[in-house]
C-alpha cells in the first residue's frame, strides 16, 4: 500500500487514489485529420515498463485532482510527483 504525496493535500494512503494509466499522452487536437494507425496509436498503445514509468493518478477520495507520478515499477518506489501541465522531472 503506497503512501502518496498528493500535491494538493499531502501524504495520504493509496486507497484514497485511483491510478489512471500512462501520463503525457495528449489527446490529438485534430483527430479527424489522423489516419487509422495514428489514431490507434493514441487510443490503444500504452507502454508497460519494468522500471521508470510516468503515470497519471487521481486523488479520487480526496481533492479529486489529477496529477502525475514517476514510479519505478520494479520496486514501486515513487520517484517524483508533479501537477498536471507541469513538465516531468529530468531523468
Amino acid at each position: 500500500m503506497f503512501l502518496i504525496n498528493c500535491p494538493y493535500c499531502g501524504e495520504r494512503d493509496q486507497q484514497e487514489f485511483k491510478a489512471g494509466g500512462e501520463a503525457h499522452i495528449e489527446r490529438p487536437k485534430q483527430p479527424t485529420e489522423l489516419s487509422d494507425d495514428e489514431w490507434a496509436e493514441y487510443l490503444f498503445m500504452r507502454k508497460n515498463i519494468k522500471g521508470i514509468q510516468f503515470e497519471r493518478w487521481n486523488h479520487s477520495h480526496g481533492c479529486r485532482k489529477w496529477f502525475n507520478m514517476v514510479r519505478d515499477t520494479s520496486n514501486d518506489e515513487i520517484k517524483a510527483i508533479y501537477k498536471m501541465g507541469e513538465k516531468p522531472p529530468a531523468q
Partner: protein, 1001 residues
C-alpha cells in the same frame, strides 16, 4: 500414557491454576501458562496429527509459529471452531477442546496411513500425474481425496465474535520482543520516537528469558536474569506501546504492516462473549525494526519425521520455560553447539540424556566440555541412518560419516530413545523482510540468506539480521540503532558481554543413509510430505526453477509455508544441480506469515455494514407499500409493488397497463445528476456528447449520448439548460460516479482552458416521474396555476414552479413514450411530494411502478438501457441511433473512432427487435441467436439483451444484438434452448407507438 513429565517449577507456569482440557475426546490437565503443545507433552502425548499425503503419524516438532505438524481444530463442532491452528500457539483455557486434523477416522487409526505403504507409487507430482485422467474418474477420486485428506473443518454457523480494525501511525515499529527487539524499542522510545513493540507470544523476552547457559554473561549476569530486569524497566518508559499476542501477518511497501492482535483466544468461553476477539492493526511506521529472530533448522535424514523427533531448541524451551521434559530417554543430533545447551538443560533437571550424535569431528567450547564431564556420550562424525517407532520414536541407528559427508561407513549402532532433538543450525526469519520487497543475499560462510537491499526505512537486528552470538548481536544492534535513529549514544554503550561459544558448524543439507536414497524417507517439508527424493526426482524430470520445483513437489506450499525445510530444499537443489545457493535465489514468502481468520480481515464490515446502501427520500413509502427492492449499484430501488399476493410477472403486467392507460409514478431519484456551470458549459457539452448543444434554448431539455474515446456508448441521459451558463445533466443510476470522474478528467487534463464547474447533486434532489395520459391532470391538481398547455410547456422543456411553498423543477421528458413529467424537489421534501402525487392521482388510479415496469415500458419503445443493451462494444451506429451523431461537429469524445475500419464494418453486432413466432413465448435474456440449426460449429450471431411480455401489445417482445442485424428485417432466426428451439423474426426495435403520438396524448 498420562505420565507426568512436569519436571521443574517455572515462573511462567502457574501450578496453582490447574486447567482441564480435551484433546481428541480425552481429558487432560495442564496449568495456566501452558500452550496446548506443552500441556500435551507434559502428559507424554506426542502423536497429534497425520501428514497430508502419506498420513504418517506426526508429533509436535517445535514450540512456535513455525510448527508444521501439530495443526489442530479448536473447539470442534461449535460456532467458534477454527481449523489449522498450531498447538504450539494455543494457550490452554478451562474447557478447551481440540482435535487432530487430516485423519479419518482417528489419529490412532487412520485409513490414509495405507498411503505410507503405497508411497513408492506416490512420487512428486503424483496428484498431477494420476488424478488427471480419465477425466470422468475425477468424481470418484475426489470423494476419497476430500474425505481422507483434510485441512480441518469450517464452522457451519455464523461467527459469534466481534472483530475490529485499528489504524496506527508510529515513528518506530519494532517487530519481535526478544532481546534485540526490547533493547531497540527501549532506546527508540527514550529518544522521543513514538514506538510500538509487538510480539506474537504472550510474554516478552523471546528465547533469552530462558537462556541459562552459565558461560554467557551480560554485565556479569546470566542473560535471562539481565533481560528480565530490562523488561521490568519497560513499564516506566513513555512513548512506548507494547502489544503481546500480536503477530505481524504482512509487511507491505512503504512500511505498511498488518498485524493481528489476539484478545480473547486464551480466555475460556464465558469470558469471550461481547469482547473483541481479534483486532487487525493497520500500521504505518516511519521506521521498522525487524527483530524476528531465527528459526532452528532440522536435519534431513531417513525417517526424520516420527513423533518424538523435535527441534533441539524446542526441547530446551519446553524444559526451561514450561518445565516439561519431552521424553525420558533423550538423544540429540546436531551439527553445531546449540544442542549441547539443550542437553545440559535436561541434564541439570535430572532428565536422562542418552547421547549426542554430532556430525562434526570435534568442538572445544566450554559447554561441550561440560557435557563430556557430565558423562553424556558424544558420537563425533556420526549420522543417523534410520529411526524406528510408528506412533512414537523408540530407537535410532547411527553410523560413522565419511569425510566428505556423502556416505556412511562402519558398523551400525542402535540407541533406544523416546525423544530426539535435532539441531541443524539457524535460519534468520527473513519472511517479513522479503515481503516488504527488500532483497536477500546468500552468505556462503554462514549458509544463510541475509538482508541485503532495503526498499524502505528498515533494519533487521539480532538473529534475523544474521547475528547469532550475544556479543555480536549487542554490538551490531548498537551501531544499527545509532545509524537508523540518528542518535549518538545508547544504553548499549556500557554493556559488558562475556561469551564462550563455538561458531563451528558442519552443513550437510541431506544426510546419507546406508540404504539408497530411493529406499529412504528424508522429509524436507513435513506438512506436505515432500522428501529429498521428490526434489531430486523433480530435477531429473527437468524442473530447474526453484519456483517450479516448489509447486511440483509442493515443498513449502502448506499453511506453514515450509518455514522449517525451505533452506534444505534449496540446498539439495543446489547440490544436485551443481550450482551455488546464491545463484539459485529463494522462493517468495507471501503474506500472511501465519494464517489469519476471515473475521479479522473483514473486521466490522459484516452484515448490514458489508457494503454501503443508498436509499431514496421516498424509501419509507416504498417499504410501507410492500415494494420488492433490487440493487442498482449501491442503490436499493423499488423493483415492483405486488398486491394481493401477485407474482412479479402479474404485478409488472398490471403496473405497465396502468401507466399507459391512466397514470403511473416512478421514483427516479437515483438517476445521476450533475450541475454544470460556467461560461464554456455549452462548448463543454458539445465536446462530451455526440449531438449539438449550442443552440439548445434556455428552458429546453435534450437527450444526449456519451461515448468513450474508442467510440463505444458509455452513458446517456437528458440534460436541461437552466440558464445561459447553467445546465443540469442526468446520467444513468449506475454510471453517475464514473461519468463525473470522466468529465473531471477531461476538464483537468485535456481542456483546462474551459471555464466549467461540475458538482454532483444526485443526493440533493428527489425525483418523482409521473407518466400516462392522466399525468397532466394530476400535475394540474397539485400546481393549479402552472400553464401546462403544449404551447407553453411542450415535450422536452422545463419549468420552475412551486408546490405550496416548495420550489420545484419540472421537466416534461419521457422514458416510457407516454406523456410524462419529472418533478424534482429538494431531497428533504421528496417523500411529501410523492405522497401529494399519490393523493392527487387517486381518482385516476395512479399506480406506483418499479424499475421492472420502467424497463418493460421503455423496451416497448425500443429505448436502450446502457449496460443492458450495450456492453462497451456498441457504437451509436450499432444501436441504430445514427440520428444522434452530429455530422457537423468537428470533434467530440469518440468521434474519430466511429470512422475506424473496424467500427465501420457492416457485419458488426447491431441492435434489433425480435418477435417470437409464438407470441406467448418469452425469450431468455442472454440467450444465443443462430441463423441455422444443426450447423457445426454453431455460428453465434448474437444474443438477447432485453425480453418481456408486453401487456399493451399482448405479445412477447425482445431487443437483441445480432451480427449484421440491420439488414435482416423480417428474417427468421433461431434461439436454441436446452429443450427446444424458438423461432424468432427480426423486427423494428420500436414496438409501440412508432410515431410518438402518445407523448402529446
Amino acid at each position: 500414557m498420562n505420565k507426568n513429565l512436569r519436571v521443574k517449577s517455572s515462573e511462567y507456569i502457574d501450578e496453582t491454576n490447574r486447567i482441564s482440557f480435551k484433546f481428541n475426546g480425552k481429558t487432560y490437565h495442564g496449568f495456566k501458562g501452558d500452550t496446548l503443545a506443552s500441556a500435551l507433552l507434559a502428559n507424554d502425548v506426542h502423536l497429534v496429527g497425520r501428514s497430508f499425503k502419506y498420513h504418517r503419524p506426526r508429533g509436535i516438532m517445535t514450540s512456535g509459529s513455525e510448527e508444521p505438524n501439530a495443526i489442530v481444530q479448536i473447539d470442534p463442532g461449535t460456532n467458534r471452531t477454527e481449523p489449522n491452528v498450531r498447538a504450539t500457539e494455543v494457550e490452554i483455557y478451562e474447557g478447551l477442546e481440540a482435535s487432530s486434523q487430516n485423519c479419518w477416522p482417528s489419529v490412532e487409526f487412520d485409513i490414509g496411513g495405507i498411503n505410507n505403504f503405497l508411497s513408492p507409487f506416490f512420487p512428486a507430482g503424483f496428484y498431477y500425474k494420476t488424478f488427471m485422467w480419465p477425466a470422468s474418474f475425477w468424481e470418484k477420486y475426489e470423494f476419497f481425496i476430500r474425505h481422507s485428506a483434510g485441512l480441518g473443518k469450517s464452522p457451519t454457523s455464523s461467527d459469534p465474535d466481534i472483530y475490529d480494525h485499528r489504524n496506527i501511525h508510529c515513528d518506530v515499529l519494532v517487530v519481535g520482543a526478544g532481546i534485540s527487539g526490547i533493547l531497540a524499542a527501549k532506546n527508540a522510545a527514550k529518544n522521543n520516537f513514538k514506538t510500538l513493540l509487538v510480539d506474537e507470544k504472550n510474554e516478552l523476552g523471546g528465547s533469552t528469558v530462558y537462556e541459562n547457559n552459565e558461560f554467557n554473561k551480560i554485565n556479569n549476569k546470566i542473560p535471562s536474569e539481565w533481560l528480565k530486569k530490562e523488561i521490568e524497566e519497560l513499564k516506566n518508559i513513555k512513548n512506548l506501546e507494547i502489544k503481546t499476542r500480536t503477530s505481524v501477518a504482512a509487511y507491505h511497501q512503504y512500511n505498511y504492516l498488518l498485524a493481528r492482535e489476539n484478545l480473547t483466544d486464551h480466555l475460556e468461553a464465558k469470558d469471550k462473549t461481547n469482547k473483541i476477539r481479534q483486532r487487525l492493526l493497520k500500521i504505518r511506521a516511519k521506521k521498522v525494526i525487524l527483530a524476528t529472530g531465527a528459526l532452528e533448522r532440522p536435519l534431513i535424514f531417513n525417517n526424520n519425521d516420527r513423533p518424538g523427533i523435535m527441534l533441539s531448541s524446542a526441547i530446551k524451551k519446553y524444559s526451561e520455560f514450561y518445565g516439561v521434559a519431552c521424553g525420558s530417554k533423550n538423544v540429540f543430533f546436531t551439527n553445531n553447539d546449540s544442542a549441547y545447551e539443550s542437553a545440559l538443560s535436561l541434564y541439570n533437571k535430572g532428565i536422562n540424556v542418552e547421547a549426542i550424535v554430532d556430525i562434526r569431528d570435534q568442538s572445544e567450547s566450554k559447554i561441550v566440555k561440560k557435557v563430556k564431564e557430565a558423562g553424556i556420550k558424544i558420537y563425533w562424525s556420526h549420522s543417523i541412518v534410520d529411526t524406528t517407532g510408528y506412533k512414537r520414536l523408540n530407537s535410532i541407528s547411527i553410523m560413522k560419516l565419511s569425510n566428505d559427508g556423502t556416505s556412511v561407513t562402519g558398523s551400525k549402532i542402535s540407541i533406544l530413545c523416546d525423544c530426539l532433538g535435532v539441531a541443524g543450525g539457524w535460519t534468520p526469519a527473513v519472511h517479513l523482510y522479503t515481503q516488504s520487497g527488500s532483497k536477500l543475499k546468500f552468505d556462503e560462510e554462514k549458509q544463510i540468506f541475509l538482508p541485503n537491499q532495503n526498499t524502505s526505512e528498515q533494519i533487521s537486528v539480532g538473529s534475523c539480521g544474521g547475528d547469532f552470538r550475544i556479543d555480536e548481536i549487542l554490538k551490531n544492534l548498537n551501531q544499527k540503532l545509532k545509524d537508523t535513529l540518528n542518535i549518538n549514544e545508547t544504553d548499549l554503550d556500557s554493556i559488558k558481554v562475556e561469551i564462550d561459544q563455538e561458531n563451528s558448524k558442519r552443513n550437510i543439507w541431506l544426510l546419507p543413509s546406508d540404504k539408497p536414497l530411493g529406499k529412504t524417507k528424508p522429509f524436507v517439508d513435513y506438512q506436505n510430505d515432500a522428501t529429498a527424493k521428490d526434489i531430486k526426482l523433480a530435477l531429473r524430470e527437468g524442473f530447474r526453477s526453484i519456483e517450479h520445483v516448489k509447486r511440483y513437489t509442493t515443498t513449502g506450499m502448506g499453511t506453514d509455508q515450509g518455514k522449517l525445510g525451505n533452506m534444505h530444499a534449496l540446498g539439495i537443489i543446489a547440490d544436485t544441480a551443481g550450482v551455488k545457493m546464491g545463484e539459485l535465489g529463494t522462493t517468495t514468502f507471501r503474506p500472511p506469515y501465519t494464517p489469519l481468520t476471515f473475521g479479522t480481515i473483514v473486521g466490522r464490515n459484516v452484515g448490514k455494514f458489508f457494503d454501503i446502501f443508498r436509499r431514496t427520500p421516498m424509501n419509507d413509502w416504498h417499504v410501507e407499500n410492500k415494494a420488492e427492492f433490487e440493487n442498482v449499484g449501491q442503490w436499493k430501488r423499488a423493483w415492483y409493488y405486488p398486491i394481493n399476493g401477485e407474482t412479479m410477472h402479474q404485478a409488472v403486467q398490471r403496473e405497465s397497463k396502468a401507466a399507459r392507460e391512466s397514470a403511473g409514478i416512478l421514483d427516479a431519484s437515483t438517476l445521476g445528476k450533475i450541475d454544470i456551470q460556467g461560461s464554456d458549459a455549452s462548448e463543454f457539452l458539445n465536446r462530451v456528447y455526440t449531438n449539438a448543444w449550442s443552440k439548445l434554448a434556455i428552458g429546453k431539455c435534450r437527450y444526449g449520448l456519451m461515448l468513450n474515446e474508442d467510440g463505444m456508448v458509455y452513458d446517456d441521459g437528458v440534460t436541461t439548460r437552466l440558464g445561459e451558463n447553467h445546465y443540469l445533466m442526468t446520467t444513468t443510476t449506475g454510471g453517475a460516479a464514473n461519468v463525473l470522474g470522466k468529465l473531471e478528467d477531461y476538464l483537468q487534463t485535456e481542456w483546462p482552458e474551459l471555464d466549467v464547474y461540475l458538482t454532483s447533486v444526485t443526493d440533493h434532489y428527489a425525483t418523482a416521474s409521473l407518466c400516462g395520459p392522466n399525468s397532466k391532470k394530476i400535475i394540474k391538481k397539485i400546481i393549479p396555476d402552472l400553464d401546462l398547455s403544449d404551447e407553453s410547456f411542450p415535450h422536452m422543456s422545463f419549468k420552475e414552479a412551486k408546490i405550496g411553498n416548495i420550489q420545484c423543477r419540472i421537466m416534461r421528458i419521457s422514458f416510457t413514450g407516454e406523456l410524462s413529467y419529472e418533478i424534482n424537489v429538494q431531497a428533504s421534501y421528496g417523500k411529501d411530494l410523492w405522497k401529494k402525487c399519490i393523493e392527487a392521482g387517486k381518482e385516476f388510479n395512479i399506480t406506483p411502478y418499479g424499475t421492472e415496469t420502467m424497463h418493460l415500458l421503455r423496451a416497448e419503445k425500443g429505448f436502450i438501457i446502457v449496460g443492458q443493451d450495450t456492453d462497451g462494444t456498441m457504437t451509436p451506429i450499432d444501436l441504430q441511433m445514427d440520428w444522434i451523431v452530429s455530422k457537423k461537429k468537428y470533434d467530440f469524445i469518440g468521434k474519430r473512432s466511429l470512422y475506424r475500419s473496424d467500427t465501420m464494418k457492416e457485419d458488426r453486432k447491431q441492435l434489433v427487435g425480435l418477435l417470437t413466432e409464438d407470441p406467448n413465448v418469452i425469450l431468455e435474456e442472454g440467450a444465443q441467436i443462430v441463423s441455422e440449426l444443426n450447423k457445426s460449429p454453431v455460428e453465434m450471431l448474437g444474443h438477447v439483451t432485453s425480453s418481456y411480455f408486453s401487456p399493451n401489445l399482448n405479445k412477447s417482445i425482445a431487443l437483441a444484438v445480432v451480427r449484421g442485424g440491420k439488414d435482416m428485417m423480417g428474417k427468421q432466426l433461431f434461439v436454441p434452448m436446452e429443450n427446444k428451439n424458438i423461432n424468432v423474426t427480426v423486427a423494428n426495435p420500436v414496438f409501440y407507438d412508432e410515431k410518438n403520438e402518445r407523448l402529446n396524448a
